[in-house]
């Protein structure tokens, strides 16, 4: 089964140290032979310890970095073989939400301008103002917020605005990199619910990167585990987490603190 956005056999390495004819170059292998697919109407999760390569993988999926080997396919076409027009189409169809809402919006621009940016930059031909109002409502906020600046909002509100910006160009793929980990517990639920609703209402392909396994279990129907640059396991979240096969997954599951374990006195085991 193929996905709308895919990695096939992707490897990435960074060169360490200085270039010298006398010193053999050493490389840091960040990703090795990764296969990964994001499918329409589905939410897929990516989990792993920090340092496993999740950030690099996300950068490659979004076209910000070119892999050493392998293909990055959008709707069947390799990103790095696209012409300018196809590249533009790709960018229009991709929305990205990042972890830290305070960092993902320019503090010097009113929120409404930040929302208009994707429309302007990618040359979308439509009534910009109407579109902005439409999307800000979709994420549950009022259009009165558009003239205000990022520092006037709470983390949860900013993340909604960031989601709105990601949706401006009517993308078919949404990549959310740790979208709720910087938020308060009760707000996490609100934002997660919003993301899940958007997937069903807009038939999006969602990729959710998270370190919290229960978040992934709730919001996705398939999850891949990344460890030391390799995908070690993929499967249905609840099954994977209750019967982990690889050591990496087992470690991740063992690190989870649950309420019931805590109340039973086994919280730290």
């Amino acid at each position: 089964m193929t996905g709308i956005l895919e990695l096939r056999g992707v490897s990435q390495a960074y060169r360490l140290g200085r270039r010298s004819p006398f010193v053999t170059a050493s490389y840091l292998q960040v990703l090795s032979n990764v296969d990964f697919a994001v499918r329409t109407g589905q939410a897929v999760g990516l989990v792993g310890e920090s340092g496993a390569g999740k950030t690099t993988m996300t950068r490659i999926l979004t076209g910000l970095e070119r892999p050493q080997t392998g293909q990055v396919l959008f709707d069947g076409k390799d990103l790095w073989e696209m012409n300018a027009v196809e590249r533009l189409e790709f960018r229009r169809n991709l929305g990205v939400v990042m972890q830290n809402p305070r960092s993902s919006l320019d503090p010097r621009m009113p929120v409404g301008s930040s929302l208009l940016e994707p429309l302007r930059s990618l040359g979308i031909d439509c009534d910009h103002v109407a579109r902005v109002n439409e999307v800000i409502e979709q994420v549950g906020m009022a259009s009165s917020v558009l003239g205000r600046y990022p520092h006037e909002f709470s983390g949860g509100q900013l993340q909604r605005i960031a989601i709105a910006r990601a949706l401006m160009t009517r993308p078919i793929v949404l990549i959310a990199d740790e979208p709720v980990s910087a938020l308060d517990v009760s707000i996490q639920a609100q934002v997660l619910n919003l993301l899940m609703d958007l997937v069903t209402d807009l038939n999006l392909a969602l990729m959710l990167v998270a370190h919290d396994l229960s978040v992934v279990a709730y919001a996705t129907s398939r999850v891949s585990v990344l460890a030391a640059g390799e995908i070690v396991e993929t499967g249905q979240p609840l099954e994977l987490f209750s019967r982990p096969k690889s050591k990496a997954t087992q470690d991740l599951v063992a690190a989870v603190l649950t309420m019931e374990a805590g109340l039973a006195g086994r919280g730290l085991d």
Partner: protein, 273 residues
């Protein structure tokens, strides 16, 4: 927003200095260069010359006014050109690869290691003295500083996620630098500008005092100080007026710079709750 005292006082003093400089372009009480020997060395407080006259009978107030113009033009000129050049170099250094960054940074470091006064003296000796040479010298000295300030501020802005977001919806490097990075480092640059404006005024006064800055018929506070030096035993206040002017304007600019720094900072800081 709580009123910042430094900023207000500094702004008032600076504004006064600039206003006087502007007025001097179209009106002066007397011709500041016309000798008037019969009225020489008048003390302050006389009806026609409120601050008195100098050794050649020239009105002090008129001279101070033209001196203000010199200080403002040279100080602002040097600081502005340095700001523009330094900001551009700093942004380029921050946004480029290692080689370009290292080159720009090392050149800036080398330029910074040469004392400003020495640069100014050498330039004056080779290009001749005058306001333009002074501005040139100031630029040579201040640009590397602005470059470093702009570079480090830009580097930290470039780490932010909204830069990545802009790349993701297709903005190019130049657009990002101009529309996302620059507005976010502008605050730091403005503060630096006011401080270097003040430093420029001081440097110009020093050079003119030494005789390698502005010379007659141009007038500078430093030049007035140098001329007044000979009269210290006879009419001490002569040195006081240009000296006080320098102190007031430099103080005003420094206060404004401090105040601006405080005012611009909290807007970006997070709450403690």
């Amino acid at each position: 927003m709580r009123l910042n005292v430094s900023l207000i006082i500094g702004a008032i003093l600076t504004f006064c200095a600039i206003s006087i400089a502007v007025v001097s372009t179209f009106w002066l009480p007397y011709n500041p260069n016309l000798p008037n020997i019969p009225n020489r060395l008048l003390a302050a407080g006389s009806a026609e010359h409120w601050l008195g006259t100098d050794v050649l009978g020239r009105d002090i107030i008129s001279q101070l006014m033209v001196g203000a113009r010199t200080s403002i033009v040279v100080g602002a000129g040097g600081a502005t050109i340095s700001l523009v050049l330094g900001a551009i170099m700093g942004l380029i250094a921050a946004a480029s690869g290692k080689i370009v960054d290292e080159t720009i940074s090392r050149v800036a470091d080398i330029m910074l290691s040469i004392p400003g006064m020495v640069t100014a003296l050498v330039l004056a000796a080779t290009l001749g003295s005058g306001a333009l040479t002074t501005i040139f010298a100031l630029t040579a000295f201040f640009t590397p500083s602005f470059t470093r300030v702009a570079r480090s501020a830009a580097l930290s802005v470039l780490q932010e996620d909204f830069i990545t977001a802009a790349q993701l919806y297709g903005r190019g490097r130049i657009f990002i630098l101009a529309r996302h990075v620059f507005p976010n480092i502008a605050g730091v640059l403005i503060v630096q500008f006011t401080l270097y404006f003040a430093a420029g005024i001081l440097t110009e006064a020093g050079l003119s005092y030494l005789g390698v800055g502005v010379t007659r018929p141009g007038i500078s506070w430093g030049l007035m100080l140098s001329e007044a030096q000979n009269q210290v035993g006879v009419s001490s206040p002569l040195a006081m007026w240009p000296g006080l002017s320098i102190v007031i304007v430099v103080l005003g600019l420094n206060l404004m710079g401090d105040g601006l720094r405080d005012v611009l900072d909290p807007k970006l800081s997070k709450s403690i709750l």
